[in-house]
Amino acid sequence: MTSLTDFLAMGGYGFYVWGAYLVTAAAVVLEVVTVRSRLRNARRVAEDSSEP
């Protein structure tokens, strides 16, 4: 499939373009995962430590 190869090559700038996009995507995924687990953790602690 030549068009996909061309797309990934980005006219010779693939390293720069995909280097930018992939690190951004990884950063976003990492942030979402950490924030969600932080909230889950905070819910558990609040349930346990609040006075009845």
Binding site: F7, M10, G11, G12, Y13, F15, Y16, V17, G19, A20, Y21, V23, T24, A27, V28, E31, V32, V35, R36, R38, L39, N41, A42, R43, R44, V45, A46, E47, S49, S50, E51, P52
Partner: protein, 246 residues
């Protein structure tokens, strides 16, 4: 029909469920807009006559750079509220915004570096725009480090608010740096006073990505402020009830 009392939401206990209701809407909107923006930016938009395909970094670089500055301004606003009115939620908002601001500042620097290499032949230069954006990253990290060094969260709110307000001077420096100094970084591509210097489809894709970044920042900040509310109010009865109610 009684009018909504907006000040009610200034209390963490009533803001928590509101934030929880808003998160999915902003998250879904951000994901849909990002999908459209990426499709337009990576597939529909044509190759740039001067820069070839390398210009496509613009669709994440510019939105991330805008948000890195905008989030800091919002933090400065909430810091002023925190100092003036001494409300708990204002300090929590500043605390919730900082990691996302730091992350988007990093993304702006990283993507700019990868764009700079093909465009200017270098990953980094100590020009005014890049240096002031790097200082912005240090301000975010400094705020987070200062907070983590102070055990009492209300004192951390006040100390952090002062740091954020002092650092806000850096925002006009970043914004106007390309005009005030002779920088390697190019001038503004889009401005309120002049016609944009790019093709309509490229501009549309960039605008959609900018709105997606904005909604993303709102969604992830609201999620984080929920966690912060529970962490800081965990000994109260209402925090326990909120934690159980989904």
């Amino acid at each position: 029909m009684s009018p909504i009392n907006w000040f009610r939401f200034a209390s963490p206990a009533s803001f928590f469920p509101l934030a929880g209701k808003l998160v999915p809407w902003f998250a879904v909107a951000a994901a849909l807009l990002a999908a459209v923006g990426l499709y337009l930016g990576l597939i529909v938009a044509p190759t740039d006559a001067q820069q070839g395909e390398s210009y496509r970094i613009i669709f994440i670089h510019v939105p991330a750079a805008w948000m890195s500055m905008f989030i800091y301004v919002v933090m400065a606003f909430w810091s002023a509220v925190a100092l003036a009115l001494n409300t708990r939620l204002a300090g929590m908002m500043v605390q919730a915004l900082a990691p996302t601001g730091a992350l988007l500042t990093f993304v702006a620097l990283w993507t700019g570096s990868l764009w700079g290499r093909p465009a200017w032949g270098t990953y980094w230069a100590w020009d005014a725009r890049m240096t002031s954006e790097l200082i912005l990253l240090f301000l975010y990290l400094g705020y987070l480090a200062l907070r983590s060094a102070i055990a009492d969260s209300r004192r951390a709110d006040r100390a952090g608010a002062v740091l954020v307000l002092v650092g806000v001077i850096n925002i006009p420096i970043i914004y106007f740096s390309v005009r005030w100094w002779n920088t390697l970084h190019q001038g503004a591509t889009v401005s309120l006073t002049a016609a944009p210097k790019m093709a309509a489809i490229m501009l549309t894709a960039m605008a959609i990505m900018a709105i997606a970044a904005w909604f993303y920042a709102i969604a992830v900040t609201l999620l984080r402020v929920q966690a912060i509310i529970l962490e800081r109010e965990k000994h109260t009865a209402w925090a326990g009830e909120l934690a159980e109610a989904r």
